[in-house]
Amino acid sequence: MALENIFIQEKLSQKFGNSVKNFAAMRDIFTLEANKDNIHEIIQFLKEDEELNFHFLTDLAGIHYPDNTVEEQFAVTYQLHNWIENTRIRIKVFLNGENPEVQTITDLFLCSNWMEREAWDFYGIKFTGHPQLKRILNMDEMVSHPMRKEFPMEDGGRTDKDDRFFGRTPVNC
């Protein structure tokens, strides 16, 4: 039997109060937003609590929301999985746009090491306490964080590709 969403919600609300909010079942995955200051405790609780037991970190993704307010311009989503109950959960943390910083979870999940390095590399999200926070897929000399929305995909100087004639405007192409 899978874990009931309402059970997870009550358990988390009881323990963390206002730090966890916006619970929603997004299709098959129960989703919540967490406060960035105690994300480490929340994930530790989800992992180590005997009933919840979310012991596997499936994925960690950085996201850039340039249109949000400064306080919420970056996000990190953690997807945890409880194999025994076969339940997934997704935790989203919004971070400051000017100085995106969040605690590392490398001490909880070894696999988050490279995932966090990837998020640092592509979004410039700083994971405090990470043992080796350096670029991973891009070269070390690079200065920008290429997955941020303001980073153009192609060199703007190209003249051989003009998509305006196909109904595309600079906004959507």
Binding site: A61, L110, C111, Q132
Partner: protein, 411 residues
């Protein structure tokens, strides 16, 4: 600054300076890769070695990084499929189908049973191709070239089946939203049946050559073992996790594309060493063959794609002669299709483990964010720990038994 942030060669130079052996010999640095015939891809590892033993290693990844996630943010769904081909290029149909299933999940499209079964068949074929390459190359790395020659022609046979289905061989770009682009030809089924007759004989022969082979056992047993707890910590999925003794398989945990209709076992190993990984893959090939046979036997009649004119390209002859079809064709190709605002995660059991697409859609023609959970990328970080204390030649064998595919690693 922490030492770990230094380039590995500088870090190791310090260690060499500090630690001199009593007999006057010293540790050494070895640069393995990025291009080395034994690593089957662009992998660089800087190794700190004591004679022939590896003390520490640091992998450098990203040599074939092609920014798929960035490109995906700028392309409509149809154009993202070709990116997925190039991730795990040994089993590209699995990636293709995983992507279509993600999109279908987002768009709430119900795929007809026949298309689901056909997808299962092609995904299992791809799994066979993937495991076949991994295991036979593992044989080559231990010095047994013959087994590789016996089975490798069957990858060609599998590619010929792909060719009948979609016209391409390696980077297949197979399928559409809602099913397949065309009905499978009789020739495809004929080739599939011939394959199912001939391949098990060759695979049995291959197994016989290796599984009780003294040299092979000496080279692989207790080489690069990983415990179940460690494997879980490191985010292992797929055959590499199952070799450590955990029976997590996405096909069983969250059945997609009608996998619940088929009976198959999830083979598990015990010690998580190279030999177990080899055996688990061998056993999985047998399960895949059985799944394909079941799917062929139960293959229902019916349409090969869902009836979703908003997303499925109209037949080509209509596009030339019918205004409506032409409009739809243009709209679909340009990505001007209705898309809900949602966040979706869909995972399939890829050749190497849980291949997941985390798709954030904001209702525009392109995904707002597409995060690909690439199993290789996640478990390759355990590699330095797995080769610590091993010989250099073991490191090569461990790398090939992990089946790290450069395309999937770097995306």
């Amino acid at each position: 600054m922490s030492d770990l942030l230094l380039p590995p060669e500088h870090r190791y130079a310090k260690v060499i300076e500090e630690k001199r052996n009593e007999d006057g010999s010293e540790l050494s640095i070895l640069n393995l890769g990025p291009t080395h015939p034994a690593t089957h891809g662009i992998f660089q590892n800087i190794l700190l070695m004591d004679g022939e033993r590896i003390l520490d290693a640091e992998p450098t990844v990203g040599y074939i990084h092609r920014a798929f996630e960035k490109i995906a943010e700028n392309r409509p769904f149809y154009q993202i499929n070709v990116l997925t081909d190039r991730m795990n290029y040994c089993s590209s149909p699995i990636n293709n189908m995983a992507w279509w299933m993600t999109v279908e999940k987002l768009l709430n499209i119900e795929v007809p049973k026949r298309a689901q079964y056909l997808r299962v068949i092609v995904m299992e074929l791809a799994r066979i191709a993937d495991h076949l390459i991994c295991n036979s190359i593992l044989g080559v790395d231990t010095g047994a070239y013959t087994g590789f020659l016996y089975v490798f022609q069957f990858r060609e046979k599998i590619y010929e089946i792909y060719e009948e289905i979609c016209g391409a061989r390696l980077t297949t770009n197979m399928g559409r939203i809602g099913g397949f682009e065309r009905e499978w030809s009789d020739e495809a089924f004929k080739k599939l049946n011939t394959f199912l007759e001939e391949f098990p004989i060759a695979w049995k022969e291959f197994e016989n050559l290796f599984e009780r082979n003294r040299i092979f056992i000496d080279r692989t047993v207790n080489v690069g073992p990983i415990s179940a707890e460690k494997a879980m910590q490191y985010g292992f999925t797929g055959p590499n996790l199952r070799a450590a003794g955990i029976d997590y398989d996405v096909r069983k945990a969250a059945p997609y594309s009608s996998y619940e209709d088929f009976e198959f076992d999830v083979p598990v190993g015990k010690s998580g060493d190279t030999y177990d990984r080899f055996c688990v893959r061998n056993a999985e090939v047998w399960e895949s063959i059985s799944i394909i046979k079941q799917a062929l036997a139960k293959l229902p009649d019916g349409p090969y794609h869902a009836d979703v004119p908003d997303y499925y390209l109209p037949p080509k002859e209509d596009v030339y002669h019918n205004m409506e079809s032409l409009i739809y064709h243009f709209k679909i190709v340009m990505g001007e299709v209705p898309v809900p605002v949602e966040e979706i995660y869909h995972a399939v059991e890829g050749g190497n483990g849980e291949l997941g697409f985390y798709l954030i859609s904001d209702g525009s023609r392109t995904p707002y964010r597409l995060k690909m959970r690439r199993p290789c990328y996640i478990y390759y970080q355990a590699y330095p720990e797995m080769i610590k204390g091993a010989m250099l030649s073991d490191a090569i064998v461990i790398l090939s038994s992990l089946n790290v595919i450069a395309g999937e690693l770097d995306a």
